[in-house]
């Protein structure tokens, strides 16, 4: 398993965790996540289908 190499991290959600990663000198990028499709789960599923995900 290639997990245990030096981590390169994508942080999705609380920026606080990204800041902590950077403070440790980690290689990381931040995704400024927002609820998709206004937070509507049904609409989200439909959009995912349309995008072929």
């Amino acid at each position: 398993m290639r997990l245990l190499r030096k981590p390169k991290i994508i942080n999705v959600g609380a920026k606080f965790f990204y800041d902590n990663l950077k403070a440790q000198g980690a290689d990381a990028v931040h995704v400024d996540w927002k609820p998709p499709a206004g937070g509507d789960r049904e609409m989200m599923k439909l959009l995912d289908k349309l995008k072929g995900f």
């Binding site: 398993m1 390169k8 994508i10 999705v12 609380a14 440790q24």
Partner: protein
């Protein structure tokens, strides 16, 4: 008091960021209550309960950001709202100044960093599985910090991960340390040869920092609390074990979890006995026999697990550790406290931020003082009817959902207000013999928990004193000198408030028991297994 609000359409901010803004606003002069939150239905309910749901917020959508303040005057309320807006603008400015690239989606971030290997997810629970699935499809390992992810989603994600050879740490995974980088809540530990795989966040923090004082830590792999449930079957625990087995840095392994069902236990122990590296297994509160029968070494407590792993690594015979300080000194310290108690002060009141610490302490003291009531009891019949009200010996885990999710407060490792209130309530109870606390440091935790708790502890001691009582307070600090909060200075802050600071939670629990039973548990502590 005047309540004023402002709603910003479609302005999403994460909950930890908003909690910090809310805290800062709440501390401003003339502010009675203040909140910056997303206008979800659950949050609207909370605002309603607090008498702060304005018509404007009631009409807002879940994607709208609401700022609401309860102030002395209308002018002050306007000023405070402007201040909140400034704080948010400042955060955006800071990011722009640092010229940090910000991505809108996981897919775009993955394109920008194609060799990324872990995705850390802390979005609200109902959206977390979607992001995790996307991460697995992109070929990344996943750590899901979020809780509130449906169990069936966890099963699907972990099966998908296993198929692809990718780890799914979590949901509700508080801590992992991968090659020296802490994800979520993690202490700054020394690198070394001992690997940890754990179903409990505070459990792995405690074990890793105790080992950090010895040979050091290679990896900490968190699995999330439900991984060993029958439905999930320990998928991540088994993969984590394999990862540590394959990791050349890892020479010795510690496994920490609550006792799983016999079926899952069997599967884990079978896999563990095949690893071929020395291993200590702590099924906290479980029967050590099944572990011994599998030819592995059981540990009764978190501290015991760390001590045994260190001994195994050094090729020594594991010894039971009771107190690390001079025993006569420990005895004298306890005596100095309990001789000042009045006859009615009989009970230990544990007020915990870490659930695993709470369990560990209960396991230790129940043999010394008898039954312990709790919101996370060791036996169902010991469940507190009302978690807000102690009964005889009572230990509460204030990180449980009833104190956080349901009442909309952040975890007590980040936010101390609820714990502070509880400490004062216990101080007013004439039956309280001793208050027992855990203080957790590290990335992710409150920036100065000792500084936040010390004034409350002084006040608690004064409350007791006014009623003619003396109130002992015992604590342990889960942290290292390298943590951002610094272990030494945090311990000093507590000591200066009159707290007896013990080197581990297990030792703090023993000290609290000694005080509560006026030293009578000494022989039992020395001769026992816990």
């Amino acid at each position: 008091m005047v309540t004023k609000s402002r709603v910003y359409k479609g302005e999403y901010r994460d909950s930890i960021f908003l909690m910090r803004i809310s805290q800062q606003l709440g501390g401003l002069a003339g502010v009675h209550q203040a909140s910056a939150i997303m206008a979800t239905d659950a949050n609207k309910e909370l605002l309603k309960d607090a008498g702060m749901l304005t018509d404007e917020i009631a009409r807002a959508d879940p994607n709208d950001l609401a700022i609401v303040v309860d102030c002395v005057t209308s002018e002050r309320a306007e000023e405070v709202i402007s201040k909140a807006i400034d704080m948010m603008a400042e955060a955006v400015r800071e990011r722009a100044e640092k010229a940090e690239a910000v991505y809108k989606t996981l897919t775009s971030a993955a394109k920008a960093m194609p060799d990324s290997n872990i995705v850390l997810i802390s979005v609200p629970g109902k959206f977390a599985a979607r992001e995790a699935e996307r991460a697995l499809e992109l070929g990344k390992h996943v750590m899901i910090f979020s809780d509130g992810v449906p169990l069936e989603d966890e099963v699907l994600l972990k099966r998908l991960g296993r198929e692809k050879g990718l780890l799914v740490m979590g949901p509700d995974c508080g801590t992992s340390i991968i090659n020296g980088i802490g994800l979520g809540f993690a202490n700054v530990v020394k690198r070394g040869p001992i690997g940890v795989v754990a179903a409990s966040g505070t459990g792995s923090q405690a074990v890793s920092l105790l080992i950090s004082a010895g040979p050091g830590i290679s990896q900490v792999i968190g699995t999330g609390g439900r991984d060993l449930h029958d439905e999930v079957g320990g998928i991540t625990m088994l993969m984590g074990l394999q990862a540590l087995a394959d990791d050349p840095e890892t020479k010795t392994i510690v496994l920490v979890s609550k006792p799983p069902s016999p079926t899952v236990a069997k599967r884990i122990l079978e896999a563990a006995s095949q690893v071929g590296k020395p291993m200590v297994i702590c099924f906290l509160g479980g029967d050590p026999k099944v572990i011994e029968e599998a030819g592995l070494i059981p540990a009764a407590t978190l501290e015991d697990a760390a001590a045994k792993a260190i001994a195994l690594h050094r090729g020594e015979k594991p010894k039971r550790m009771v107190f690390s300080n001079d025993l006569d000194e420990v005895k004298r310290t306890a005596e100095k406290e309990y001789t000042k108690l009045t006859a009615g002060q009989r009970y230990i009141r544990g007020i915990y931020s870490g659930g695993t610490f709470c369990s560990e302490a209960m396991i230790i003291v129940r043999d010394l003082v008898g039954d312990v009531h709790s919101n996370i009891p060791l036996k169902p019949e010991l469940k507190l009817e009302d978690s807000n009200k102690s009964k005889a010996h009572s230990f509460v885990d204030m990180g449980e959902d009833e104190f956080t999710a349901e009442i909309g407060k952040p975890h007590p490792m980040i936010y101390h207000e609820l714990r502070q209130k509880r400490i004062l309530a216990e101080a007013s109870d004439p039956e309280t013999a001793v208050i027992l606390l855990d203080v957790v440091l590290g990335y992710g935790a409150h920036e100065d928990p000792g500084g936040a708790l010390a004034p409350t502890i002084l006040e608690a001691k004064k409350i007791a004193e006014r009623d003619g009582r003396y109130l002992p307070v015992v604590a342990s600090v889960c942290g290292t000198p390298e943590d951002p909060q610094n272990l030494i200075s945090q311990e000093e802050k507590l000591k200066s408030a009159g707290v007896i600071v013990m080197p581990s939670n297990a030792q703090a629990a023993r000290m609290a028991a000694l005080i509560a039973v006026r030293g009578k548990a000494w022989e039992k502590i020395m001769e026992g297994n816990l």
